[in-house]
Every structure is written in C-alpha cells, then in structure tokens.
Symmetry: C2
Subunit: 365 residues, 2 copies
C-alpha cells in the first residue's frame, strides 16, 4: 500500500546514490526505483537471481518499481538496432552485445523480483518528427501487448515459478507506458491503445527529455483524460519540485527523479526558496542549517558553512548530508501534498509553494 | 576519560572519511584525531574559530586530539624552509605561503579547541642519516620546550582566553613527541629530554614512515622505558591490527591510523583472518557478510557479493559500509585488548590473533 502522490528515490545500480537502506527507511521512503538496464549490465541477472532478487541483494524490504531498461538502452547504450522483435545494443560499460525483447524485459524484471514492472517502450528523443513519433508509439503499443501477454501467462501459472522469479509472495504489478512525443493526438491515441490492454497502472513516458516545460505539460494533459481514474498514474523521470506539484495538479500520482541525489553530489540543496549551491563562497561562514525548521538529520546537526567545507574538500560526508536533505525535501513535499489534497487545499498550497520557490542558482533539470 | 588502549579514527579535514558523527558514536568511538595542517589550509582557522572550534564545526561532541601539523608540512607541503624558529612552507592546495612556529602550532590547536594538542616536531624520513636524525631530535626538543612554555602561559592565564580558543570547559592537554629516527641511543636521549619537559602524555613519532617493521619496533622499545608509567603513550600513525597488538605489548596506549578508512575506499576489509579485497571476482556470489558474527551494521545486513558490486560500480554505499566495518574492527580490537589486559590474558590473545591473521591480499600499510 503506497500513499500517493509518492516520490520514488532512484536506486540506479542497486543503491540509491549516497543513501543507505536504513537512511531511506528513516526518511519514510515508501518505494524506490531500480534501473533494469544498469542491473542487467552490472552485476548481471545471474548474480541478482543468486541472491534471491533485488530486495534481498540490496537489503531493501520495501516496494521496488523497476523500469524496463528501454530508456537507458536509448540514452546510454551504443549501436542500437530496433526491430519489431526488440532492440539489440552494446552496453556502455564493456560493449557486450545484448538483445532485449518485450518478453525478455518482463522476464528480467520478474527475476529481479520487483513489485511493479514496466513494459518495454521506445522513448523518442526531443525534438522528434511527427512521423517517427507516430510509428514509435505504435511499436510501443505492440510491445506493450507482448509484455501484457507474458504477465498474464505468469499470473495464470499459479504454482510453479516459470521465470525463475524471486518475487513470490505478492503478484508483480505491470504498468503500461504512454508515448507519443509532444503531439497531442498521438498522446491521446497512444493512451487509449495502452489503456485498452488493461494494465495495473499507467505511466507517461518520453517526458522531461529536453522539451520545453509547456510541451511536457501538454503531453501529460493530452494523455491524462484517457487514463482510468482508479489506477495509479506515473509521470516518469520528473522533475523539479514545482513540476511535481504541477503534475499532481494534472492527476499524476507517482514520480521518480535523479535530481535530489544528483544535485546533492554537486553540492546543491533544495529549499522552499529554491536551490542553494553550497559551493558558493557566500555560505563559508553561514551557521544556519540548509533550511530552518527542516526535520532532516542534516539540518538538525550541521551548518551550511560546514557542508560547504565538506563539498569543497571533497569529503563524502558532504554529499551524504545534502542527499539526505534533498530526499527528505522531495518525500516531505509529497507528504505535504497528500495532506493538502485531503484537506481540499492543494491548489492554494501549490500556488503558494511555486511563488516562494525560485531557482537561486542555475540548475539543469 | 578514555579507556586505553584506544584507537582514534582519523578526521583529516573535519570529517572521518566515509563516516558520520552519528555513525562514529554508534561505533563507540571514544576520541577522534583532527589534522591541524589540513584544517589550517582549508577551511582555514578563521572559519573554524567563527564556528566556535572544531567540535562545533563538525558536530562531534566527543574528545578530539589534534596533531601539530608538522607531519603533513614535512610530507605534503612544498618549498619547506626549516629554521630554529619554525618552518616556512607552501601548502599543497593553492600554494599559499605560511609559517608555523612551535608557538603558532599551539595557538592554532588552542583555536581549534581540541582536547589534546601535540607539540610541533620534525618527523625525519626513512632512511635518514644518523647526524641529521640527531640534529633533528635536538630541534624537536627545543620546539617542545617552546610549546610547553605557551601551554604553561595559557593554563596560568585562568580567566581570559588569550588565544581565542573555543575550548574553555576543560584544560587542553599537551603531549610531547619523541623523535630520533631508527637509532636506539637517539630515541633514548630524546625520550629523556622530552619527558624532562613534563607533558600530559607522550607520543612516539617518526614511526611507520617506511621503515622495516623490526626498526619500528626497536624505535618504540628504545624510547618506551624512559616514558613515565602514569601518562598515556601514543604511537603515531600506526598501523596494521597485529602491529597495534605488538605496540600494546610494548606499553603503548593510543593509536591513530588511516588504514581502516583508506583501505575501505579501495574495497579492502579487515577480518580476523586478514584483509579481504572485495573487488576480487571470488566474492561475486558470496552471500556471507564480511565477517561472520561481526556486530557491525554492514555485516548485519549486507553480503560480500553486494558490497563487491557496489565497489565495482563505484557506488558510495560500498565504501561507506566497508568503512563502518573496518572502524568497528579496529575499535573492537582495542575493546577486546582492554578486556584481555584486565583478565591478564592479553599475551595469549595477541599470539592467537597474530597466528590467525594473515594478509590475504597485498596491503600497503
């Protein structure tokens, strides 16, 4: 049971960068994301199967959502060849060739034992020609159908564990992904086609890939009306704090984003007034915590000046503390959004938050 | 009050690399070491004074011993010019010139507010000519006398805080340092000369600087009989676990060493059977913890195989977990030594430990 809206810290390679499972629990993290592509490349599926699945391997007993690997194949891997059957690629670590089909993507995620698996999709870049986006959305639909067929076969196979999955206590949920680039009619058509396949939840993919924010909002708005009300909606790979609130206002329930952990490693902290780049000299003598009245462990004990020193001196503790703060900021924002939604005051809250929030430093999202 | 023998994790730049103050407390760390040279160079004394001293700056409320900075000036800094008055150098970060005298070394440590300060000494390299070692030991004695004079002036100055020290609740203790290279007579003479000056404790410096282990043991054995029984004896910059036990057998009480934290960052873990290099392929499928029955947080939750993956994938959590384990190993070794000493069984324990302990991998100490 996950309370939504929910933010999923990204555990790329079997670890949320800079944080321990204990720290994630202390932050009240409900669910984390695992990147199938990264885990498939290293340590490899055999290793994770040997350890009884991703939960056991990384010692995280909360829910895990895994992506299909598609996004990384299209953004990181080399020499891709896409056919109706799947995608052939060379991984970015040792260049080894591999082939992933919709069916294989489901088998891999079953072996990882995640609680929520994503269908294999093609994520088109921005900008993208209409014709390519249209053909790609059709391919994504055909692949989704194949993923659904695998998932149905598994759930029909009640006793035995045909795919060697480590996940046996609860059925793995499967989410479909809506593509369609920045084109309103393609987003609508693809949403309808994917929803026709009846998944446990629906994601909007192919957003936050470099397009202007208005185009991102339009892509979500174009698909959203066609998603069923009773199923979770997941906006993939988003975003800044105001973007998350805008997405919640547009009916989105789940988010994942590397910003809180990635920016922390660069010394950037999130606050209600925008981001702080703690490398800046202005913080050298600053005795305040990152944010006054913040309940996170970093703000309870450490000054901006100390954290600036740690980041400048490349001490690991610096990025650890900012990571804790940033994850707390994102998770707390979701918690606050839930409260405001329940109280019927979300819209006022969102507007007030966005007014106060200014990006103090140039942040690349 | 520190129970000895005691191991001091090294907090080079205001942070024990890879560990948080909370983790250090949970490991029952009694005292940590701060490197005056590093802190003097970055963030600089004015910053640490502004934050009310090193304890406040780094949020560590346990005892801190600071070194004098001499060792790093002689090993890291450039363009050194040593005179009777002190040492002029260019720091290794931005090349800025600075001058440290025995008096200034004491003033800096008073401003840092450490609980134990070390006198400024010259640490000669290995190998070192007899004549140079002799002259250097005499210089170290003259400098020690000057440090003692400053310390006495401060403790006589009961009310006001002449040096701007942040340390006001308990008097700062001052430890003398015995030098003399690898020469038995120089070690003896220097020990007598330093003890004549009446310090709160005595360190043996200039050991573990590249000399063969027998020469290191001889240096300690040569000085030790001349150190007063009632004062703590600190063997600086040591060492491997068997070396620590050998030093305890030779009457040493306090130790500091970067090995547990530095090797952890390279994927090497300490165990009773020697070190494990967790990068090795042999650990890929190893479900065991680093060490069976180890009470540390890493061994309680994580497998060798997972830690190997983290280190290979350069995930921060990997070095964090091994750092926790290694610090626990060193601190626990001291705790065990105390128990064995109390029980009158230390010698048997030491021999049994050394028999079991083999360096599985090439470790540069």
């Amino acid at each position: 049971m996950i309370d939504t809206p929910a933010f999923m810290p990204v555990g790329t390679q079997g670890s949320v960068k800079g944080a321990s499972p204990r720290e994630l629990r202390e932050l009240n993290t409900q669910i984390i994301l695992g990147n199938t592509y990264h885990l498939f490349v290293r340590p490899g599926l055999d290793v994770i199967k040997h350890f009884g699945g991703l939960h056991n391997f990384m010692s995280w007993n909360g829910p895990i959502l895994t992506d299909s690997g598609g996004y990384q194949i299209f953004s990181l891997a080399k020499l891709r060849k896409i056919t109706d059957e799947g995608v052939e690629f060379q991984n970015h670590i040792d260049g080894a060739r591999a082939f992933i089909s919709p069916e294989i993507a489901m088998e891999i995620q079953a072996a990882l034992g995640s609680d929520i698996a994503m269908v294999l999709d093609e994520c088109v870049p921005y900008p993208c020609e209409y014709d390519y986006a249209a053909r790609s959305a059709e391919l994504t639909t055909r692949w989704a159908k194949k993923c659904k067929a695998v998932a149905s076969a598994v759930s029909a196979d009640s006793g035995a564990d045909a795919l060697g999955t480590a996940h046996s206590t609860a059925p793995q949920l499967i989410f479909g992904i809506v593509q369609g680039g920045t084109f309103e009619d393609l987003r609508k058509e693809n949403a309808e086609a994917i929803v026709d396949l009846d998944f446990d939840g629906y994601a909007i993919g192919g957003v936050s890939v470099g397009e202007p924010e208005e185009e991102m909002m339009l892509a979500v708005e174009s698909a959203e009306p066609f998603l069923p009300a009773g199923r979770p909606r997941y906006a993939m790979g988003l975003g800044t704090p105001p973007q998350l609130l805008e997405m919640i206002a547009r009916g989105m329930d789940m988010f994942d984003c590397v910003l809180p952990t990635r920016l922390a490693r660069n010394g950037t902290a999130f606050t209600a007034a925008g981001t702080l780049n703690l490398k800046n000299a202005e913080f050298t003598l600053d005795k305040r915590p990152i944010e006054e009245n913040c309940a996170c462990e970093a703000c309870g004990q450490f000054s901006r000046g100390y954290m600036r020193h740690l980041i400048k001196a490349e001490e690991i503790l610096g990025l650890r503390l900012i990571t804790l703060h940033n994850l707390h900021f994102y998770l707390n924002l979701m918690s606050r959004a839930r409260t405001e939604i329940e109280g019927g005051t979300f819209d006022q809250f969102r507007k007030a938050f966005e007014t106060e929030y200014k990006t103090r430093d140039a942040v690349i999202a």
